[in-house]
């Protein structure tokens, strides 16, 4: 059986993604991702879902050459979009149920 984890530490993130601590601090400062644990920066732990958004943010920042404020807005909209798509799927299913019988 495989080891299954729901979190990733700051240290691991920096190492795996070749990111500087400073970049992660920027992402957190702009509210793109929030650590779920750790009082000091070095002890930060992120849940695996916010890591998904954190990585997206870093890619957008470097690939599109846009500043962190704009990245934060884009991420916010992407998240909202994902949530709306999910709600839409949910309502479509309900509607189908309503119309079916």
């Amino acid at each position: 059986m495989t080891e299954l984890v729901l979190s990733i530490s700051l240290h691991e993130l920096c190492q795996y993604d070749e990111l500087s601590e400073q970049i992660i601090v920027e992402v957190v400062d702009h509210g793109i991702a929030q650590p779920v644990a750790g009082r000091n920066v070095v002890d930060w732990v992120f849940d695996t879902t916010s890591v998904h958004w954190l990585r997206k943010a870093v890619r957008l920042h470097s690939d599109l050459e846009i500043d962190w404020v704009a990245v934060a807005m884009v991420i916010d909209l992407l998240r909202r979009n994902e949530a709306l798509e999910q709600r839409n799927r949910h309502f479509e299913q309900q509607l189908k149920r309503f119309l079916d019988c």
């Binding site: 059986m1 495989t2 920042h61 050459e65 994902e82 309503f98 019988c101």
Partner: protein
């Protein structure tokens, strides 16, 4: 190897200034960035655009590229670098972005010294991978084992090959739609001593034929005949774990929600609830006797369902 016309890729003139190149790149990058555009082919298009920009944004590399272009490079035509060619402007890979280094053979032969496969930085950690993981509602209620099969890129003798991997994972009880679970070391294999990447499972709760999900709660429709709603009845309602008896009170209203505690999805601390939503359904047809009964009901009742309209 095909010659790549980077000016054409960015849609700019060969004498475009740095600012025009930057503007063109930004516009195309926004359009095709895979984080912004899920369409098939967008990622390849973005890589092409990023590669063109990588060369044209740097004055040194651009000058070398222009020289080669003069040498007879035409888009799509077969191309070999001139004998003795060695790019001076070099390329060591920019950190940060996702596509750092994933460039064409043409680029590699120009700026990475020769057409040999690019040497990865030694000891590079394997890539992370993410796959969608469908989970049935029934499975989400308790911890469940699932077999995961996925393709993972592996580098062998400088060639990237996709290898099928399969493994058994324990999905914890109470996973939610959209949640991501990390499996340590199950992503792409690392080079040399370096660690493997991780695998992320993106949880998707499979739509259920009977139940809708609202957070940790479930919703089930309970179809009732008009007289059942009027007179009250007992119905058997399906749940994720067996059936239960539910009492419908007389004069129940369509759309009314009845809460059945603890029969929803699992949470970290317990179980959500199941809501039974009443739905009054008309019989598809009626014989003359039934029609007569409806008629006498209509004569007898003073109920006006459109009283609010004030007609």
């Amino acid at each position: 190897m095909d010659f790549k016309d980077y000016y054409q890729v960015l849609g700019v003139q060969p004498d475009a200034d740095a600012k025009a190149i930057k503007t063109a790149y930004r516009k195309l990058a926004r359009k095709y960035h895979p984080d912004m555009n899920p369409d098939e082919g967008a990622e390849d298009k973005f890589k092409e655009v990023a590669e063109a920009y990588e060369v044209l944004k740097d004055a040194g590399r651009r000058a070398e590229y222009d020289e080669l272009r003069q040498h007879g490079g035409r888009s799509g035509s077969s191309f070999e670098p001139p004998p003795g060619w060695q790019g001076n402007a070099g390329f060591s890979g920019a950190g940060g972005g996702n596509f750092d280094g994933d460039f064409s053979d043409f680029f590699n032969s120009m700026f990475r010294g020769g057409g040999e496969p690019r040497q990865q930085r030694s000891g590079r950690r394997g890539q992370d991978a993410e796959i969608e993981m469908p989970v049935f509602l029934e499975e989400s209620v308790s911890e469940t084992s699932k077999l995961v099969e996925y393709l993972i890129p592996v580098i062998e003798n400088g060639q990237v090959k996709e290898v099928k991997k399969s493994l058994k994972v324990k999905i914890p009880a109470g996973v939610q739609d959209g949640e991501r679970i990390r499996l340590k070391g199950q992503g792409g294999s690392g080079q040399g001593e370096a660690a493997n990447g991780d695998l992320y499972l993106h949880i998707r709760l499979v739509p259920h034929p009977l139940f809708d999900v609202e957070g940790h709660n479930l919703v089930v429709n309970v179809p009732l005949a008009p007289w059942e709603a009027a007179l009250g009845t007992k119905v058997i309602v399906p749940t994720l774990s067996g059936k239960i008896h539910l009492t419908i009170a007389p004069n129940s209203q369509a759309g009314q929600r009845l809460r059945i505690k603890g029969k929803g999805l699992a949470t970290k601390t317990g179980r959500g609830d199941l809501f039974a939503v009443l739905k009054v359904v008309m019989p598809p047809s009626a014989n003359s006797k039934v029609t007569a009964l409806w008629q006498s009901l209509s004569d007898e009742s003073e109920f006006d369902p459109r009283a609010e309209w004030g007609n």
